[in-house]
Each structure stands twice: as C-alpha cells, then as structure tokens.
C-alpha cells in the first residue's frame, strides 16, 4: 500500500488523490442514495396498503377515481427506456465510443423530459383530484415525489452530458485550457486536469441510480395502476 502514500503530485486528478477515489465515492453514494430513496417510497407503499386495508369512511377508492392507465404505462415505459439508454450509453462510454454515448444520453434525457411532461398532463386531465379519498391522495403524493426524484436525476444526467459535450474535442487524457476550472471563478489555477476522466465515475453511479429509480417507477405502476 505504500504507493498510496507516495508523492501526491503523481496524481493529476482531483486534488492529488488517487484517480479511482472519485469513482468509489460516487459508487457508494449511489448505493446509499438508492437505499434512502427506497425508504422514502416505502412510506408511500405503506400508506397505500394501510389506507386500503382501513378504507375509512368507505373513501379509499370512490368509483369515479380511475387512474388513466394509458398515461401511467407511458410514463413507466419512458422511464424504463431512458434508464436502458443510459445503461447502453455507459457501455459505449466504457468502450470509448464517445459520440455514441452522447447520443444515447441525449435521447435518454429527452425521454426523461417526456416523462415529466406526460406526468403533468396526466394530473391535469385525469378527472380526479388529490382530495378524492385515500387512493387519490397516495396516487398524487407518490407520483409527485417520484417526479421530484426523476427531475433531480435528469439534472445529474444533463450535467454529465454537458461535460461530455463541452470537452468533446479534447482527446481522452488531454488537458483543457487553464481557466476551465469550475466552482470558484476566483481560483487562479485549474484543479481538474482531465475533465473527461470524471464523466465515467459519475455515469456509473448515475446509471445505477437511474435504473433503480426506473425499477421504483415500475413498482409504482404495478401498485397504482394494476393492483
């Protein structure tokens, strides 16, 4: 392990740290974030089954509360599609097919934006409101918070894509011009020598989390529309 303790200037990545550290951090963060997300939605799953079993005042699921299954299926399918595209994009990225991965990520991002749009349209047209009983409450709450998580993840995807696009002409391992350092504009030197090397760890973690979230989307679809 002595090489770990060697002269830090050997590493031209983030702040003289070993290059795999960012990947390990993001990887563990992705898993931890997924477990936290699971517990968040567990509350809604619990609410669903709990209120359904109680059916207080007979208002669990009044007759007119019928969720539009077409919309729901579309939302679910687009989420899954986007997750698959990001997975494939990751494979491209690993294989060094840079323009292919950017294309897949862009389409995946578009699909994700489609999810957001469709979800909002569904709320506006679905014929029942949040006040229409237990099911309606869970439906509204679950889809709304799910959308928040989706938007956050899309922001992450967009970040990675934007970095890949911005440095598309820099060869792998190449250095950008000084002044491209981000964060603190007042900083004299650039602290990131190889920006493209930072895309991969982010993409690995994102891909895991996005797949997980798509899985949650399928679960939501099964519970809210099919069960």
């Amino acid at each position: 392990m002595s090489e770990f303790a060697a002269n830090e200037t050997d590493y031209e990545v983030v702040e003289g740290e070993p290059p795999e550290l960012l990947g390990r951090n993001l990887n563990s963060a992705g898993h931890l974030l997924a477990s936290a997300t699971a517990f968040f939605f567990l509350a809604f799953i619990f609410a669903y089954f709990y209120l359904r079993s109680l059916n207080n005042a007979g208002l669990w699921h009044p007759k007119h509360v019928t969720p539009p299954t077409t919309f729901g299926t579309l939302v679910m399918a687009l989420t899954v599609l986007s997750a698959i595209l990001v997975r494939l994009g990751l494979a491209d990225q690993r294989a060094g097919r840079r323009s292919e991965w950017r294309l897949k990520a862009a389409v995946g991002l578009a699909a994700g934006v489609g999810v957001v749009v469709l979800q909002v349209v569904e709320w506006a047209t679905m014929g029942f409101g949040p006040a229409d009983g237990g099911y309606a409450s869970v439906f509204f709450g679950w889809t709304a918070f799910n959308l928040l998580f989706i938007v956050g993840t899309l922001f992450w995807l967009q970040n990675l894509l934007a970095t890949a696009i911005r440095y598309r002409n820099v060869p792998v391992g190449g250095k950008p011009t000084p002044g491209h350092a981000s964060g603190d504009p007042g900083r004299p030197g650039h602290d990131v020598a190889d920006p493209l090397s930072l895309v991969r760890p982010g993409l690995e973690a994102l891909s895991f989390y996005w797949t997980f979230l798509a899985g949650l989307g399928v679960l939501a679809w099964v519970v809210l529309y099919l069960a």
Binding site: M1, L21, N25, S35, F46, L51, G129, F140, H180, S182
Partner: protein, 629 residues
C-alpha cells in the same frame, strides 16, 4: 504543501457581498417574499385544491421554499450546480483559505464545518434551552400564569422540536465532521460541498422554526400529530419545513459520513481497527440515512394535506391519523437512537484514554452499536401501546423493545470493564463520561417501565416518559457532547479549556440535572401529563423543586459558556499537541490541524487503543504528522 497560499484579499465591501452569510440572508429574505407573493398569486386564481383555506399555507410554504433556496444561493451553493449545468467539471475545494471569513459561508474544509456546527448548533441549543427555562417558569404554579395556553404550547413545541431536530447532529455535526477524517487518515470528507450544505440547511431550518412565532406558533409539540396538525394555523408550516430541512440535512450527513468511512480509510485501517467512535458514527449514519427519508415523506404528506387537500391523515376522507403515527414513529424511534448512539461512541472512545487501557471487548462494543441500529427499526409501535393500533402485536413490540437493552448492555459492559484495573485519571472529560453511565442507566431502566405495557398505561404520555427521554438524551447525548468538547477543544482550537471551571461546570450540571429530572419520574407516576399548562395542586412542591433545579441547570450552561469564551478568547493558554497522551490518530497531528490534515497519508498497523502494550508498534510510531503550518 500549501502551494497556492497566495492570499488575494479584495476590498472589504467586496468581501461582504460575496457569497457569504450576509448575501445568504439578503437573498433569503428576497426569496421569502417572492414565494409569498407567488403563493398569493396562485390562490388568488382560485385553483380548486387551494381555495377553501382561510389562511394561505401555500403562500407561507412557498415563501419558506424560495427563502431557503435564496439563502443557499446567496451562500454560494448555486455556483457549483450552475457550473455543472454548463458542463464544467466538478471542483472539490472551495474557500479553503485561512481567516475568519471562511466560517461565514460555504467552506469545504471539514474542520471549518465542524466548528461551524459547534457554534451554530450551540446557538440553537441555547434558544431551545431558553424555551425550557420559560416552560419551567410557567410550571411554578399549578394554574396558567405567565403564558396563555397557546403560547405555552408553542414554547413546548419549539423546545421539543428544536432539540429533537438540531441535536440529531449535536455530536455528528461538530465532532464527526471534524474528527472522522482525522481518525481515518483522510484529507477530506467524501463530499465536502454536501458536508457544508448539511450545516447551512440546518441553520436555515433553525431560522424557519424560530419564525413560527410570527405565524402564531404551533400547538402539536415535536410529534406534530395529525389531525391537529392539519387544523393548526400557518405556524404549523414552520414546523413542517423545519423538520423536512432537518431530515434532508440528516440524510445527507449520514450519506456523506458513510461514504467517507467506507471509501476513504487510510491503508491498513481495516474495519476491525476502526476507532469505536467511527463505528458509532457508522451506526448513527445508517439510521440518519434511512430514517430521515421516512420523516421527509410523512411531512410531505402532511404538507399535501394542508395545501393540496389530500386526505392522508383525515379519516373523514379515507385517510387515517394512525398512518401519521405509524410513519412518524418509524422515523421517530431510530431518531432517538440517532441521539443516543454518538454518545455511546464518545464515551467508549474516551474511556481508554483516561483509564490507560485498551477498549475492553472491542468486537462486543461494535456488535452492541450495530445491534441497537438494527433493533431500533423493530420497536416503533411501543409509542402506540395505548393508541389502539394492532393491540395483538403489543407482546412483540414489548419483547423487541426490551431486547434493545441487550446490545445497549454490551456497551455498558465494555465501558465498565475498560475502567476495571485501569489507571484512571479524573479529568473533566472522564467525569462527563462517568456521568453518562449513571444517567443512561437511569434512562435505560426507566425505559423498561415504558416498554412494559401494563406499566406504560400509567407512564405513557406523562412526565415519567418525559423524564425518561431527558435522561437518555440530555443525560446521554448532552453529557457526552460536553465530554467531547472538553476532550477535543485543545485540538480544535489549540487552546485548553480551564479545568477548574470545567469541574465546577460538571458538578453543578450533574447535580442539578439529576435534581431536575429524577423528581419528574415521581411527578409522572403521580398523574401529571406532559405538555399541559395546568397540573394538580398537590404536585406543586415537586414542580417548584424541578423548576428551581432547572434554573440551576441553565446556569451551569452559562458556566460552560463563560469557560469557553474566557479560555479561547482571553486566557488563550496554548495546548500541547497531545495533552491527554492519547494514541488516537487525530492527536498525532499538530494543533491547529493544517488545512490538508496529512502531508502523507499514514499507514495504520493497529487500533488506537494500544495502551499498556510494552512494545507499542502501532500508530504514533508510523503516523507522520502533517506540519506545514
């Protein structure tokens, strides 16, 4: 190694309006009014869901949302996402310079964040404590006298919420942020910007809760039970936003700590060599990470109930108040272990240093901490023994609750056996640790009464349970907090706290604490419920005794404050690098610790408890001190 130590100091006015606390506050206020205006605009349009509310919750909530966002942007948290949005790669470090100004903004140095936490949480602890004093003033007489009923409930609610919310990070915030990287031989936390965010979110949360007084306060206490929650006026929104922000902060803090300890341990620092305090941080962080999302979810439902007219908790509309109680305590019980576990960690970490012996039964202690972590998920309905929920499951919850005393007992055994045949030195931190044992013992034993259903029928919701959790939280967490601050001050500030004043502080605090809360067990058994502004006349003597003791307890905090300010700002006696002769890694660094902690990452060859070993091979011998300052 401070290569770029070229200090560029812009003029004062430029420094004042840069991204810092001042801009944060200004942006926060602007954001609040923006959201407030937006909320009125939306309801003015009479969208059906929002229409039938005579007070505009939406406006207040949007105000808070935009206010907090503005505050964070003003602090500089918008810079990074904005850069990423445009495709610039991540940079790790921000404002890692010297000087006081870094304490008033986004700083990614974990040591700065630790001290920010210490001062920031101390501030809100002071406000919460002041509320407690006012509560005890009111309870000097059996009938309502100083405060009207509504104000009294707000005081109770603010005290409880402030303490339960802020003190979740009471030890993790200051001490884990500061010392976990040092103990594991790292230069930083895994996500330094998130680390800073957790702190500033907590400050925003505290400010939000304090502003509840402008909206009429809230009547629910810290538990925020529905449907009272939905009934309450807009002051309730402050509670909801406060706790949601605290939840986000807790969750991110846990995530960051776990990621750091998982990935950034120095070479050789295997899991079985990890300092026990870090194990306590791991177990607490697991609870933080997983319990806080449930809290955020349940508060989200409450917010939807109050604004969008969903009926999660409204039985007339197909919901159930039980749903709130279940979900709240699914969070709420791990939450109390979030408050207890760091204290155990501190005590077990400090005892070896002052008994000059290795930690006895390291593996047992670790399994104790992890056992508590696991079991804390299985006990939540013991808060609901008389509520009518799942009455046939009560034997299970009784068993699981009492089972927790087994892993808790492990930590007791390990701590006590560490003292056995040691060379005990009575320093101020050790005194606080010993008091922790006594207090937590009483807290734990009284917990057995509450976990036993027949006994719980009387004690539930009475001052008995209130005394119980003050023994575990104040007697546990706060005593451990003081042990930690007396122990680590020399490293954090480079100055020693006055020992004589420390001992005075300890004895006054220990005696007045017990004198305050021990009689409350009797008060509870004699039939006084919590959170009532009135009580039976025959309980006045006990209540007066408690109030006077509580005032002395409050004074003991002032003794500490005096000691803290006097020692650090006026006496300024330089502390030696390792005043306690501890073998732990953080003490091998110079005081104050250089910005990048270690010039060379140390290689760890043993655990930090190698006391009494005639041939010490481990840490101090091989750990090179960083030392460019």
């Amino acid at each position: 190694m401070s290569a770029t130590a070229v200090e560029i100091r812009p003029p004062v006015w430029r420094r004042l309006i840069g991204f810092n606390a001042i801009t944060g506050v200004i942006f926060g206020i602007i954001g609040y009014y923006l959201g407030w205006f937006l909320g009125h605009h939306i309801t003015g349009k009479s969208i059906a869901f929002f229409a039938d509310i005579d007070q505009n919750d939406l406006s207040v909530l949007l105000g808070y949302f935009f206010g907090v966002s503005g505050f964070l942007i003003g602090l500089g948290f918008g810079v990074y996402p904005w850069a990423r949005l445009r495709g610039y790669p991540p940079s790790l470090r921000e404002k890692e310079t010297q000087g006081t100004s870094r304490y008033f903004g986004l700083c990614t140095d974990h040591k700065v964040v630790g001290i920010q936490y210490l001062i920031g949480i101390g501030l809100f602890f002071f406000i919460g404590g002041l509320n407690a004093m006012l509560i005890r003033v009111e309870l000097l007489r059996p009938a309502s006298q100083v405060f009207p009923a509504g104000q009294y409930l707000t005081l109770v609610g603010m005290h409880g919420t402030m303490m339960m919310g802020m003190m979740t990070s009471g030890i993790l915030g200051p001490f884990a942020n500061y010392f976990v990287p040092l103990m594991i031989g790292a230069r930083r936390m895994a996500f330094p910007r998130i680390e800073s965010l957790t702190f500033w979110l907590l400050m925003a949360a505290g400010a939000v809760l304090t502003t509840t007084i402008f909206f009429g306060g809230f009547p629910t206490g810290w538990t925020g039970y529905e449907p009272l929650n939905s009934q309450a006026n807009t002051g309730m929104d402050s509670y909801l936003v406060f706790f949601a922000l605290v939840g986000v902060s807790m969750c991110l803090l846990g995530l960051n700590m776990l990621a750091t300890i998982i990935t950034m341990r120095a070479p050789g620092l295997t899991w079985s060599r990890l300092p026990i305090f870090c194990w306590a941080v791991v177990s607490t962080s697991i609870l933080n990470l997983l319990a806080a999302p449930v809290l955020i979810a349940v508060l989200g439902m409450a917010i939807l109930d109050r604004t969008a007219q969903t009926t999660f908790f409204n039985p007339q509309g197909g919901g159930s108040p039980y749903l709130y109680q279940n979900l709240f305590w699914v969070f709420g019980h791990p939450e109390v272990y979030i408050l207890a576990l760091p204290g155990m960690g501190i005590v077990l970490e400090l005892l070896p240093v002052f008994a000059r012996k290795p930690l006895w039964g390291y593996r047992l202690a670790v399994s104790g901490l992890l056992g508590v972590t696991l079991l804390s998920w299985l006990v939540w309905q013991h808060h609901l023994f008389v509520s009518g929920i799942n009455s046939d499951l009560r034997p299970f919850y009784m068993l699981s609750t009492e089972l927790i005393s087994i892993p808790t007992g492990f930590t007791f055994l390990c701590g006590l056996m560490t003292l056995w045949r040691g060379q005990i030195r009575f320093t101020v931190p050790l005194l606080f640790c010993l008091a922790w044992f006594f207090n937590f013992l009483i807290g734990g034993l009284s917990g057995v009464f509450l976990s036993d259903v027949p006994s719980d029928v009387t004690t539930h919701g009475s001052f008995f349970s209130m005394a119980h959790f003050h023994y575990t939280i104040m007697g546990g967490l706060v005593f451990a907090f003081f042990a930690a601050i007396y122990y680590w001050s020399p490293k954090m500030f480079g100055y020693t706290l006055n020992e004589r004043l420390g001992k005075i502080h300890f004895w006054v605090m220990f005696i007045s604490f017990n004198s305050t809360f021990a009689p409350l067990f009797a008060v509870g058994f004699l039939g006084q419920p919590r959170r009532t502004v009135t009580y039976a006349h025959n309980l006045q003597f006990l209540n007066d005794w408690v109030s006077v003791s509580a005032f002395v307890l409050g004074l003991s905090m002032l003794v500490f404050l005096y000691n803290f300010v006097y020692s650090l700002l006026f006496a300024r006696i330089r502390a030696p690098q390792n005043p306690w002769s501890s073998l732990s890694l953080e003490w091998q660094l110079p005081s104050p610790v250089p910005v990048h902690n270690f010039d060379r990452i140390p290689v760890i060859t043993g655990d930090p408890y190698d006391y009494g070993n005639p041939s010490p091979g481990a840490i101090p011998a091989t750990a090179p001190a960083g030392g460019s300052s």
